[in-house]
């Protein structure tokens, strides 16, 4: 597969390490009430769609960026690639 890195352009997916569902960005607050249930959902449950899937890839043998790749799990077609850090910020994560 080829991942069109937002900075570097097309890169062989072999340079990347796959982590999984991009929801892993949305880590719950460990100090909140109900944290255990929220973390169970966060760590263990997956939509696992047959179709479009937003997922985390790490460019380990490249620029060490974490990326959010939107990829179709039926065809492997990739429709968008974003820097995960930007996605994280857009989802309200900060320091």
């Amino acid at each position: 597969m080829i991942i069109n890195h937002p900075l570097l352009g097309p890169c062989d997916a072999q340079e990347f390490i796959y982590k999984g569902d991009a929801r892993l960005i949305d880590r719950p607050d460990g100090m909140s009430d109900g944290a255990e249930a929220a973390f169970y959902d966060y760590a263990y449950l997956r939509d696992n769609p047959a179709g479009e899937h937003r997922e985390l890839w790490f460019h380990e043998q490249g620029d060490r960026s974490w990326l959010v790749v939107t990829r179709n799990t039926l065809t492997h077609e990739i429709t968008s690639v974003e820097l995960a850090r930007d996605v994280a910020r857009s989802r309200g994560r900060s320091a």
């Binding site: 900075l7 570097l8 072999q14 380990e60 043998q61 490249g62 620029d63 060490r64």
Partner: protein, 184 residues
């Protein structure tokens, strides 16, 4: 000055050089490296400091810049490797220049450097790396995998520089020489 004698990454006192057909592969131990990573919200100041060091703008994505004394190449968002003829205090010098705008780390001995000069560079590299070496323009710098090793590859007008993980210098050297013998 201390009296510890350095070894090259290949474990000898004199750098190794191999000529295979038109191509020469040279171990180049006399380089210093330091990484510069911009601090959060100091990206501009860091770039300015680098520009001061390099005498021109810091390299853009996947680019290498050669200044009067120092060179630099991009290795990730807001992070660069600075290279200079060997000096023990490169990191210190870069750190002084950057002040609080960057995190600077000595990387000199994290890497082994090989320079490929002469003919056949493309033919050899296409047996080693998935980079499109034939289309790579001078001053481009990319990370790639060579026989399972993550390396930086910098294209110069008539040569090519490879930085590989120092501990695997022998494996990398073996891969380069083997590929050259095979392809040339």
């Amino acid at each position: 000055m201390h009296d510890l004698a350095p070894l090259t990454a290949l474990g000898t006192t004199r750098p190794r050089q191999d000529t295979i057909g038109p191509l020469t592969i040279s171990e180049a131990p006399d380089w210093a490296l330091a990484s510069v990573a911009a601090r959060l919200e100091q990206e501009r100041a860091c770039a300015d400091a680098l520009a001061g060091l390099l005498g021109g703008p810091a390299p853009g994505i996947a680019q290498h810049v050669q200044g009067a004394e120092l060179g630099a190449f991009w290795i990730g968002p807001h992070i660069w490797l600075i290279e200079a003829p060997y000096t023990p205090d490169l990191a210190q010098r870069v750190k002084s220049a950057c002040g609080g705008s960057a995190s600077v780390t000595d990387q000199t001995d994290a890497w082994v450097r090989f320079d490929l000069t002469g003919g056949g560079i493309v033919a050899v590299m296409e047996r080693l790396s998935n980079l499109d070496i034939a289309q790579m323009q001078p001053a481009q710098a990319r990370r790639t995998v060579i026989e399972h090793l993550g390396c930086y590859v910098i294209r110069h007008a008539d040569s090519l520089t490879i930085y590989g993980p120092r501990a695997s210098a022998q494996s990398l050297h073996h891969a380069l020489v083997t590929a050259a013998k095979s392809a040339l």
